[in-house]
């Protein structure tokens, strides 16, 4: 196998060392991203065993800034970028989506289905505007 190009390795190392760590936030804390402000309002964890879903975690967000079409665009941009990552403390992870509720595009939900009995939930949300590059939302539980 050919050894990797030294300049490429150096560039990767530099990029890794300069990468900004995600900013830690909690519930009810603003996450400014460009002209928008996302805020996790509430988190619920419950069983939907009667529908074959052992465990569901649902995070409610409010979004302000721009008009309702801008907000819908922003949520789609965040979701489609694949930078919405839900994790549990034991390493289980899944991709999340900001699901719009209502035509005003002010309330969004992220729903995931981690294993029953899991705990230590976090949600990493990439910032399409950079600075910080991402927020690490601590959901507790």
């Amino acid at each position: 196998m050919r050894p990797p190009c030294p300049s490429l390795v150096l560039a990767l190392l530099l990029a890794a060392s300069c990468a900004e760590p995600p900013r830690r936030v909690g519930l009810q804390q603003d996450m400014p991203m460009g002209p928008f402000t996302l805020r996790a309002e509430e988190v619920k964890a419950f069983s939907r065993a009667h529908q074959g879903v052992p465990w569901q975690v649902e995070v409610a967000f409010s979004l302000t800034g721009g008009n309702r079409f801008d907000r819908a665009d922003f949520a789609e941009r965040v979701s489609r970028s694949g930078k919405l990552k839900f994790r549990t403390s034991d390493g289980w992870r899944d991709r999340g989506w900001l699901l719009r509720r209502g035509d005003e595009a002010q309330v969004f939900y992220v729903q995931t289905n981690p294993p029953l009995g899991s705990h230590g939930y976090t949600l990493e949300i990439g910032n399409p505007y950079g600075h910080p590059s991402a927020y690490l939302l601590d959901l507790g539980q």
Binding site: R68, F69, D70, A72, D73, E76, D103, A105
Partner: protein, 140 residues
């Protein structure tokens, strides 16, 4: 040279949404361009759906139908994507209805196009297409 030719401006690009959505004046060129693509799909299906037509003509019609579908999908994406066009209410209910009709007609035509079905119903104009044409003709 093709690379130096000025890019053709799409009638659906650069639309600026307000809280109300788009106005009829803003949306008219884009809406009309969408209906043109539906017309192209419908024309192709008239040939594709006719079993008496020679096979090369039917194959060509199917390709034309797919090309029109892609062009319509591109226009929809340029206008803001299905989320804004179909899943969000606009203040002008006529435009919301138009968006719904275009999408519904496109889905029906795409199904005929995809499966290459034959029969008189394939050549018939979809009701969504018919009403989208009426709405588009009434736009300024």
């Amino acid at each position: 040279m093709a690379a130096c030719a000025p890019a053709r401006k799409s009638p659906c690009a650069g639309l600026v949404y307000s809280d109300a959505g788009l106005t009829r004046e803003q949306y008219a060129p884009c809406a009309k361009a969408m209906v043109v693509q539906l017309d192209r799909m419908h024309e192709s299906l008239a040939v594709l759906g006719d079993a008496a037509q020679p096979k090369p003509a039917r194959v060509k019609a199917r390709q034309a139908c797919f090309a029109a579908t892609s062009a319509l999908a591109r226009l929809t994406a340029e206008a803001g994507g299905p989320e804004k066009l179909i899943h969000m209410r606009w203040e002008d209910a006529t435009l919301s209805r138009f968006n719904y009709d275009v999408t519904a007609a496109r889905d029906v035509y795409l199904m005929y196009c995809y499966y290459g079905l034959t029969g008189p119903e394939v050549a018939q104009m979809d009701s969504g297409h018919a009403s989208a044409r009426i709405y588009a003709a009434a736009l300024p």
